[in-house]
């Protein structure tokens, strides 16, 4: 039976078989209970709030309830006998008739978010929960498909709001990071302008001296004027200061330039599809953009795995996640420092671990108490003062990593010692790319 499935990689065969054995074992009990209750299962399925679809191992649709008709715009009579790939999962035409879109949900009864397509071509974000049964020696895959477009809409709004919130916070910090060098570049440049006027005065005096010598005159006559010019210009002071003024100005301009470059890298006008991304570069840019958030309380150390390949991800969203975690780390360290004490440390590393790109962000902040750890990824959960945050940052970060990238986001912490956030992204994302939004 599994041989009928075109892309075995998408389905864990052993897992399916074990589930089937369980189904068979309970089959008898179930059929008898059906008899006693006398429920009309056909009607029950048809009146369900979710679309119900039953397909065989080649993706051909065998059952289709009323809600599915309404949701996808395909009448039952037209859709029966067609494959999923011809109807609601057209992008997966080449593989298993579109079946893997729902069989991916088979593990541990978990729900999977997918993008389905309506008959009129519009996309429909949906959540699939799949179960299997045996009918006449063939496996049937039954799926309830729940319309989550309203939820997605809300999530998108929340994510947008959170992004705006952090951009608002960032822009104040970025302005500070630009205003400071601008102050001293301006001061130094004015100094250089004034100093050059004095230096030119000295050069003029030398020119007079040279003219005198060329004309065969007594060079000593020009010396007092030259000495006066040198003294007025304070040449000894200028020599060292001019070099420093120019060096520091160049340093300041480089600081402004690097933050502008990082902003460009960071903002990544939200590409909706995954792009092979150099995670190290993306993280470095995010750290630079957030400089003003951490520099007063911590230093940042990075350790990027040189063997890290380009990882398919949504760079704008990924950067947002890194930003959220770094800003949280800086807050945690700031809280621990209070108004004094040694700066803390934020260490960011990347590692390749089997098929995963692993990003670890560790801080030496206050740490996170047990009761907070369990709720830290809940939407609207915040321990910060009203007005400091909406409590959306980590909830959205989790959604970005787990739902959009098929990765994981975990946190471990010891109170008083700090916290470590670990992001895992699949490196070869081919089998995980379906749910990208």
């Amino acid at each position: 039976m599994p041989a009928a499935i075109a892309d075995p990689a998408a389905i864990d065969v052993a897992d399916l078989e074990s589930q089937l054995r369980a189904l068979n074992a309970n089959a008898a009990a179930r059929s008898s209970s059906q008899g006693r209750s006398g429920i009309d299962w056909r009607l029950a399925i048809d009146t369900s709030n979710d679309a119900f679809v039953s397909v065989d191992a080649s993706g051909v649709i065998h059952e289709w309830n009323a809600r599915a008709e309404a949701l996808f715009g395909w009448p039952r009579q037209e859709v029966l006998g067609r494959r999923l790939s011809e109807t609601i999962f057209p992008e997966q035409a080449s593989r298993g008739g579109g079946l893997q879109q729902i069989t991916r949900a088979g593990h541990e009864g978990k729900r999977l978010e997918v993008i389905a397509r309506r008959r009129d071509g519009r996309e429909l974000p949906a959540e699939v929960s799949m179960s299997m049964m045996q009918r006449g020696g063939a496996i049937m895959f039954n799926a309830f498909i729940h319309d989550i477009s309203a939820r997605r809409e809300l999530q998108a709004q929340l994510a947008h709001g959170q992004k705006l919130e952090s951009i608002g916070q960032l822009s104040a910090g970025i302005a500070h990071e630009i205003n400071t060098p601008t102050q001293y570049v301006g001061d130094n440049t004015r100094f250089v302008r004034d100093a050059l006027a004095d230096v030119f005065g000295v050069l003029d005096a030398y020119a007079t001296l040279a003219d005198l010598v060329r004309g065969g005159g007594d060079a000593r006559q020009a010396l007092p004027a030259l000495d006066r010019a040198i003294e007025a210009a304070d040449l000894g002071y200028l020599t060292g200061e001019l070099t420093d003024a120019v060096d520091q100005s160049l340093e300041g301009i480089e600081r402004v330039a690097s933050i502008v470059r990082a902003m460009k890298e960071f903002s990544h006008p939200g590409s909706a599809t995954k792009t092979p991304t150099n995670l190290g570069d993306a993280i470095a840019a995010t750290i630079t953009v957030a400089t003003n958030e951490w520099k007063y309380v911590a230093s940042v150390e990075t350790d990027f795995d040189p063997a890290m390949p380009l990882v398919p991800c949504l760079p704008g969203d990924f950067n947002q996640v890194i930003l959220n975690i770094i800003v949280n780390a800086a807050h945690a360290i700031g809280e621990k420092l209070g108004r004094g004490g040694e700066k803390g440390l934020i260490s960011v590393s990347t590692r390749v671990e089997q098929a995963w790109a692993v990003v670890r962000i560790a801080d030496t902040g206050t740490g996170i108490p047990e009761e907070v750890l369990t709720r830290i990824f809940d939407p609207f959960y915040t321990t910060k003062d009203v007005g400091v945050g909406t409590g959306q940052g980590l909830a959205i970060s989790r959604s970005v990593i787990v739902d959009k990238h098929g990765g994981t986001l975990d946190v471990e912490s010891q109170v008083g010692e700090g916290a470590i956030f670990t992001i895992r992204l699949p490196i070869g994302s081919e089998t995980h790319s379906g749910a990208a939004l």
């Binding site: 500070h176 601008t182 102050q183 001293y184 570049v185 301006g186 200061e241 520099k295 108004r339």
Partner: protein, 403 residues
Amino acid sequence: MTRVLFVDDEPNVLAGLRRMLRNRRAEWDMAFAEGGDAALAMMHEQPFDVVVSDMRMPGMDGAELLGRVQAGWPDTVRLVLSGQSDHELTLRAVGPAQQYLAKPCDPELLYGTIMKTCGVRSRLDTAPIRELVGEIGWFPSLPETYVELVAEMNSPGASIQGASNIISRDIGMSAKVLQLINSSFFGLPVHVDSVEHAASLLGLNVLRPLVLSSEVFRQFDDAQLGGFPLFAFTDHSLCAAMLARRIATLQGASAEVVDNALLAGLLHDVGQVVLAKALPTQYAGVCDRARAGEGPLHELEREAFGASHADVGGYLLSLWGLPIDIVEAVTLHHEPAAGGGDGFSPLTAVHAAEPLVVPENESVPELAELDGEYLARVGCQAKVADWRACWQHPVGDTCPLGV
């Protein structure tokens, strides 16, 4: 020589300032500190006349540093030079800092601000009084007005118009709002035509934390002010403001003079609050003597403290960076002849307006007579009858400024 201390956590900023200001070394004795602790150590060694501090620094930030300078050396002028564009953070310094400059700062503005504050400082030669003024971070507000403003700020439908209106009815809040708006920090200098205008330029996002969480707006406590009649004072100030504006309008003065006459009228007696707050018992005694007819209040104040409420108010407002016209009008409203001008100015308007405020309240009596010689000099002597004729004390508690 004026001693100026610059404080910044960024050595490059200090190096840049040191080079840029090197040609001022004949006038200023400058020092540079890389942080709050170093700055305080240098203050202990030999106090500076002016401290110019960055805002965000690791460890002790600018607000804390200036707060300590305020407590330890109140006579030192305190300026902020910050690259921070985040208003809320900088609002922490609203109490201790007298003026705010934004990075990058035009060198002329930096130089001019320091020179101006040092100039007014040298004119008020009573160091103890300067210290009293230096200690002022906030003004007492009328309890009713304060409560009303807090309620407005906490209401979900809070509007800037509503808040501005309430603020404009309180002298202390008005002064503070004008101080902020005259700082380059909150944007380019603009001409402000009223307190409402100033408040609306600040916006609710700045006003809300200012009112609710900073220590800047506070309601007064009778005992703290030695029985100073803050309510009557407010009434008197609002009426003087309204009358000064009306006089300037009758005079056909430019819009800027009219507006500054209004603001100067509003603030002309703030020095009284400073004295009442700092020296409640002594000041109550001086007020009693004035009420008993022993002499004009401002002369009795000079006798007792070495400075009058006009000197004190003018000094405070100049430290806070208010326009020079307003400062002059406040400082000289009892002695206009000491001013240099020979044309109509906000000073003329306030000088003429104040005694015309009908004293049907319990305010400290002002016995000042109009200075005929001065009015003749500025060509206004013939106008006094018209001014007097146009005025009637409005029935009710406070003057509606909108009239």
